[in-house]
């Protein structure tokens, strides 16, 4: 039966939920557990990847290099992964030090229609001998044909696998199925999927991906991640095994790991809050949630209106500064009409 390669970005996507404040102690503890459970790839870092600590997205108190070194020391078996977005991270400032820190898997990501900005980063990481996957984010904003065309570019740059992310948690299972099929028709390399749970579909969508032929899936402990979170890793692995897919992960130890995350990592378990439903419907990046709450409060506007307006403008991940523009606009309009 089919084998699924699991990547666990609890310590990366989960950093969105922790305002990018996950500490080295937490990283060490989680990595020990993940390594023991046999999680194949553990992705670590700022929520938007290396080089992304910023006022725009939230500052991390720990330099990327220290984060990666800590994880490396506590992952004797599992591979250490990073998320890299060109436009935030540069080869010189960020990728080279990450490779020095001992990273194994480099996932180079762009907005779903902008694959050509990843060419140099993918090429560099391949030349450095790393395993390199291409990632397209916010993939609901491209048709399946366009997504496949962009993915094909990543393959031509040297990506050894391709993952599409439902960064807004907008997809329904059929959307995922048809995308995976189109991608498999076009690509020579394996296809993977990264889910968000805004509309309660993270597990269902991941399973749809696997059934359609995807061989790489992302999941996080307790679903810890941006907005309403990701596919819950322990549930995902359990369901996959029940369906006959193999992950190579020890379920009991994975459940222990998730309990550890609950104790050591999470202040609150991700749930689908009202605003997350709106963010999923509006197709806005899940990582915006905390910023939207904060800014909507300052400008005394409804965060749901802010999300729908951002959706109308077609904002992409990384454009968090537009939240202030939209909120101040809404506040001005509300004042003018009252």
């Amino acid at each position: 039966m089919n084998k699924i390669l699991i990547s666990d970005p609890t310590l990366r996507d989960g950093n969105h939920a922790a305002n990018h404040q996950i500490s080295v102690q937490q990283i060490a503890a989680y990595c020990d557990g993940a390594d023991a459970a046999g999680v194949p790839i553990v992705e670590v870092g700022h929520g938007n990847g290396i080089g992304a600590s910023s006022l725009q997205l939230g500052e991390s108190p720990i330099p990327d290099f220290d984060i990666l070194r800590t994880a490396r020391e506590h992952l004797p078996h599992s591979k250490l992964g990073i998320h890299v977005i060109p436009g935030f991270a540069t080869i010189e400032k960020d990728l080279k030090p990450a490779i020095r820190a001992g990273v194994d898997v480099v996932r180079v990501a762009s907005h779903c229609t902008e694959a050509d900005i990843t060419e140099r980063h993918i090429g560099f990481a391949r030349e450095a001998g790393k395993t390199v996957f291409g990632v397209l984010m916010m993939s609901h904003m491209a048709s399946k044909e366009l997504l496949a065309e962009e993915a094909k570019k990543m393959e031509s740059y040297g990506a050894e696998g391709f993952i599409f992310m439902d960064s807004s948690g907008h997809f329904l299972p059929d959307d995922v199925t048809e995308r995976v099929k189109t991608l498999l028709d076009v690509l020579e390399i394996p296809v993977g999927f990264h889910a968000h749970n805004n509309l309660g579909m993270a597990i269902a969508n991941s399973i749809a991906a696997a059934k359609a032929g995807a061989t790489m899936l992302d999941g996080t402990a307790r679903g810890f991640g941006a907005g309403s979170g990701n596919a819950q890793l322990e549930v995902l692995v359990a369901v996959l095994e029940r369906l006959g897919f193999k992950t190579g992960i020890d379920l009991y130890k994975l459940l222990d790991l998730s309990d550890l995350a609950d104790r050591e990592l999470l202040k609150e378990i991700p749930t689908i809050r009202s605003v997350s439903v709106v963010s999923g419907l509006a197709g806005v990046f899940s990582g915006f949630t905390k910023h939207v709450y904060r800014i909507a409060k300052q400008y005394e506007v409804d965060p749901r209106d802010v999300f729908f307006e951002l959706g109308k403008r077609g904002v992409v991940a990384g454009q968090e500064d537009l939240i202030i523009e939209v909120a101040s606009d809404l506040a001005r309009k509300a004042k003018a009409s009252s």
Binding site: S54, L55, Q56, P86, G87, F88, T90, I91, E92, K93, H111, T113, E114, D116, I117, E119, R120, M141, R294, I295, Q298, R313, G314, V315, V316, G318, Q319, D321, L322, I324, E325, S328
Partner: protein, 298 residues
């Protein structure tokens, strides 16, 4: 006054838009429009406009040194590294629109006069042209800045292949420019490409951390410098005036372009090109007689 003869190398979006702006300038005329491929859209446009075009890249200027006194280099960072010594040897002024950082950085609203004595100036980046005046105003109104960060979003359609290949150089050059003009040691630049239709306007946000924010003073200086920018970039406007949010000073501007080669959303193209034209016109207005004679100096 006799117009200053210029050449443009690079027939992509930047070069072609520059050509249209040069044609309109009362101080500049285009002696040669140079690329590598005569069938590119920019070349076709220049040919249709009756320009003297060449596909021989820098070697055209080497064999026809009389075609210009000043060269706009709109190729790529790697290419300009190679062109700069050649142009210097030929006695040409270079205005570099790539992030190669060979010459003095030039942001007209801040340091146009002092660039006149240079024979190679670097126009930083589009995001640099939009944000550095804001960073400069922050530095003028505060005794020290702990950190400055600049986020620019541009329409995907406005970013050609060279821009996309040069994202890292864009970031490093913008960060260096911010450091140079603000005196702040920690700077960060971020660039987003947004594919939304209709195309989004270029927007740039400057965020800063200072220990003792002086919002009123900063706002006053910022408004004055924005007015100066509008003299050469008419579409430079404030979207969110200086505001304090989450312990950071936040200012957002938008640049609407003149719609010369690409439509008005491509303010990123417009702001760096308008700055380059302003600088070239300043050279034209301040020519020393020696500079007006064609040919290499001894």
């Amino acid at each position: 006054m006799k117009k200053l003869k210029v050449a443009i190398i690079g027939s992509g979006n930047i070069g072609t838009d520059l050509l249209i702006k040069v044609m309109r300038s009362p101080h500049l005329e285009c002696g040669a429009f140079i690329g590598r491929n005569l069938s590119s859209p920019g070349m076709a446009k220049a040919t249709a406009m009756g320009m003297n075009v060449s596909s021989e890249s820098i070697s055209y200027i080497e064999s026809n040194p009389d075609c210009c006194e000043l060269v706009f280099d709109a190729t790529s960072a790697v290419d300009h590294q190679r062109h700069a010594p050649i142009l210097r040897k030929l006695g040409k002024i270079s205005i570099d629109l790539t992030p190669a950082q060979v010459g003095q950085m030039c942001v007209p609203a801040v340091n146009m006069r002092e660039c006149l004595s240079e024979d190679n100036v670097n126009m930083v980046t589009c995001g640099g042209q939009a944000s550095i005046p804001v960073a400069y105003a922050l530095a003028q109104s505060h005794s020290g800045i702990d950190y400055i960060e600049v986020v620019s979003s541009i329409a995907s359609r406005s970013a050609g292949p060279a821009t996309r290949r040069n994202l890292d150089e864009y970031i490093h050059t913008t960060e260096n420019g911010l450091r140079k003009f603000s005196g702040c040691r920690r700077t960060k630049a971020i660039l987003n490409l947004n594919p939304a239709q209709p195309c989004v306007n270029m927007q740039t946000t400057v965020m800063a951390k200072v220990s003792n924010p002086k919002l009123d003073e900063f706002t006053k200086i910022f408004q004055k410098i924005a007015q100066t920018i509008r003299e050469y970039v008419p579409g430079y406007e404030t979207v969110v005036p200086p505001t304090i949010e989450n312990n950071r000073i936040f200012t957002m501007v938008r640049v609407r372009g003149l719609g010369d080669y690409l439509p008005a959303y491509a303010g990123n193209l417009d702001i760096i090109n308008c700055a380059a034209i302003a600088m070239a016109e300043e050279y034209a207005k301040n020519r020393r007689p020696a500079l007006t004679e064609a040919g290499a100096p001894k």
